[in-house]
Symmetry: C2
């Protein structure tokens, strides 16, 4: 199953991808959304983030090479290979869908870098799941671009504006189920040139471990998302005019153009 | 105006406090909620968090004495007096209303401490407000208890479970407008004994500064909340059986009993 949330004719709807067309649903599949019978052409819709999470979790440092690279390349001396799976947060206000513009704030000195990530979408209320049970609460997987303004990431006490400025969290385009989250290839292209490609098998902590551990302390809710971190270097930096694409064979392509903000 | 969100007869409703009774509204006041004509007795309702924020912001370190105290008392060597207003996040999944139980996870070694805070509730969409304009987007103020498991706060890479375990974010009971957020007294009682009392005039960064600065980078949305930090020491630690109350003359009393979690 492959589904999305889109705007069409001024309405935000959920839809299933079927034979290259979008079959409208009356709600998200994980909440029992059913077909309305209406079909839309993909070229007639605007993609929205597939869910608006009540709780927006991010694994952050979840790949050894990325942490080691960022520590050295960006001189982020405080970075360490994490010893346990402690999740962080992002803010829903920063979400945009595939096709929307990424706006770099006028006073950003940069660099602003991409981080292409696999995202788990929660479909069921869950508490205290074992690792064996963990994936039973997952509705499917999508893609995220955890855009990061590295100067603010170093200067600020928290990650608020470096990772959560308006438009800094592209997510989508589709949610797919039935894939193995630990056997995916995640790639990033800038204006057509592949700049990153890595396998999710290198995660420091597995998806089952993250979900099981989190659920010991916090109730997971339908629509919550867990961004799973990225591997590798995240250069070159983005500049206005670039189109940045995060891609995965099963999920599709999350594409966003970069534009300058107004001062 | 003094309003709340409560459960009554199995329904979650907004209500205005009028002559010691609750006048039911068909939506939150900041979204134009109007009277349905129905009235309820305060003793017949269960208080809910007054809003469920899409974006849950926390100032964190916003009072000099509290930072200095925590650094020394809890040996939190990484704590510093912040040089700029960099906001952090909490998770809506941890919210409970006044009257609900705070559950201390069975594997917490403690201490679990209270942090009684003033909370600004956003009522209007806002971007790029000056400090002069900042309070124009605030619907009113409520109280929050930023419960903190100090062992996890020190051991973990993030604040996820120390501050966001289920039930760790009591908020309420009422939202009031027309008060000066920089001239409030915030107190905390444990089982009837006052253990903390401080004035919001000692904030390191004012409410107008927080909101103006945040809004330069992120759009603020109706229902978002900004918890403004606490001053002073936050001892003694809470233990099962305690009733912890955060109080302010205009807003009222946010009261929650502490119970042990099941292992």
């Amino acid at each position: 199953m492959k589904w999305c949330r889109v705007e069409v004719g001024g309405r935000a709807i959920y839809a299933l991808l079927e034979d290259s067309r979008l079959l409208e649903l009356d709600g998200p599949p994980f909440a029992g959304g059913r077909s309305t019978g209406q079909r839309h052409r993909v070229e007639d819709v605007r993609f929205l983030p597939p869910v608006v999470p009540a709780n927006f979790y991010a694994a952050g440092a979840n790949y050894r090479f990325h942490v080691e690279w960022a520590k050295e390349y960006h001189r982020m001396s405080a970075l360490k290979i994490p010893e346990q799976a402690d999740v962080g947060y992002r803010s829903p206000s920063a979400l945009i869908g595939s096709g929307a513009d990424i706006v770099i704030p006028a006073d950003s000195t940069g660099p602003v870098e991409y981080e292409g990530e696999l995202v788990a979408v929660i479909g069921k209320t869950a508490k205290r799941l074992s690792e064996r049970e963990a994936l039973s609460c997952v509705a499917g997987y999508t893609l995220g671009n955890d855009l990061s303004e590295r100067a603010w990431q170093i200067s600020d006490r928290t990650l608020w504006r470096c990772k959560n400025a308006d438009t800094f969290k592209p997510m989508g385009p589709f949610v797919v189920d039935g894939i193995d989250p630990m056997a995916q290839s995640i790639g990033v292209r800038i204006s057509g040139r592949t700049v990153s490609e890595y396998g999710t098998s290198a995660m420091l902590f597995s998806v089952t471990h993250w979900i099981s551990r989190m659920s010991q302390y916090v109730t997971l809710h339908p629509g919550d998302v867990l961004w799973l971190g990225c591997d590798g270097a995240t250069i070159p930096a983005l500049k206005p005019g670039d189109v940045v694409e995060v891609f995965n064979q099963a999920i599709g392509v999350l594409a966003n153009r970069v534009v300058p903000g107004e001062s």
